[in-house]
Symmetry: C2
Subunit: 211 residues, 2 copies
């Protein structure tokens, strides 16, 4: 477990606000932010969003609760900010030059992401929570779904530009096809998605998209 | 809210065990079972499995906690038994005579089920919980996923028998295509799935299945 240097109730030693304060607010130590972020995702995976407590996150990070509140105002703001960051830092698969190549790379990236033990628990949990908590749901669609949807749309647009897909492509159906079967396979059925499965899925999706 | 005649701590009036006891155990009133079942699904939708308390279910049903424990030994047993019942009582769509007709009816049935306000919250929640709680996850795959998968397989087999699909159909991919895109559309993106959407999805899936 990562230990951070933020003060805890029992260890009021080095604080992430002992450094000189700039006019805008406290200086926040990166190592503390990293420890809290890692602790947040670990707690989110094991407890789920509904049961997650910021006390448990602070305890796991070896930090104080105040260190969390210096950075984020609430559990929801924290979840949305950290996930948005994660999405922003996921590199876009390069243009492979063909729809088949792009599609296979896209599916490989999604499979790798969803096979991560933390993501495998966090993603379905946040989808469920988004259905119960409208404000969180809307924030997640805006910060996670929309950028990912835009990325998939760019991939499809490249195929339209190359003449591999018709200009009148049914984008709604195409995006559901890109995301749905693999999500179902990994997160609902909990089946493995090895290279052979991904190749077969690529073929099936190509047939559906080019129909 | 349905009120049942089971005793509650504050209302020890008529009990579902006042009727003569058969040798096997207490007589359980159907009206109490129905009230508890409805209360269970309502609580499951609003609180989620992790936060659901049997006290809250009893309170909502106007029954006592003992009335629950006379029927089910635990929250998990209750969830699995009630869902298994629900699946067993969902009528199978009739054989329409064509893969297109069967597929469209199947998608219509899934869309109707997942659009129900309770199911829209319960299904994603149980999928998420199944990823955290292996025993529950296995039980749900066995009692909910397996019968539904068998039903979809029978539909595909009829199409193979009619010569509409090849005998060597890739069943894994086919089942992921049948379930995934519509689940994604309804439960993740929270988009509506009207008749037009379902017709377009039917066409895309036909192209993928027959490729």
């Amino acid at each position: 477990m990562a230990r951070a240097s933020d003060p805890t109730p029992s260890d009021p030693a080095p604080s992430d606000t002992t450094a000189p304060r700039p006019p805008g607010g406290p200086v926040l130590q990166d190592s503390v932010t990293t420890a809290i972020t890692e602790a947040f995702f670990a707690e989110l995976a094991s407890a789920g969003y509904a049961r997650l407590s910021l006390e448990a996150v602070a305890r796991r990070a070896g930090a104080g609760k105040a260190a969390i509140y210096r950075r984020w105002s609430s559990k929801q703001e924290m979840a949305v900010a950290l996930l948005s960051d994660l999405v922003a830092h996921t590199p876009e698969p390069p243009d492979s030059g063909s729809l088949r190549g792009d599609l296979r790379a896209f599916l490989g990236e999604v499979a790798e992401g969803l096979s991560h033990p933390l993501a495998a628990r966090i993603v379905p949990d946040l989808i469920a929570e988004g259905g119960r908590n409208d404000e969180l749901g809307q924030a997640l669609l805006r910060t996670v779904r929309d950028p990912r949807r835009a990325r998939a749309t760019r991939m499809l647009q490249r195929a339209v530009d190359r003449g591999e897909l018709p200009a009148g492509l049914d984008l709604d159906i195409a995006l559901d096809l890109l995301a749905g079967p693999l999500y179902w396979h990994l997160a609902v059925v909990h089946a493995p998605a090895g290279p052979d499965y991904l190749d077969r899925l690529t073929n099936a999706l190509l047939a559906a998209l080019t129909a």
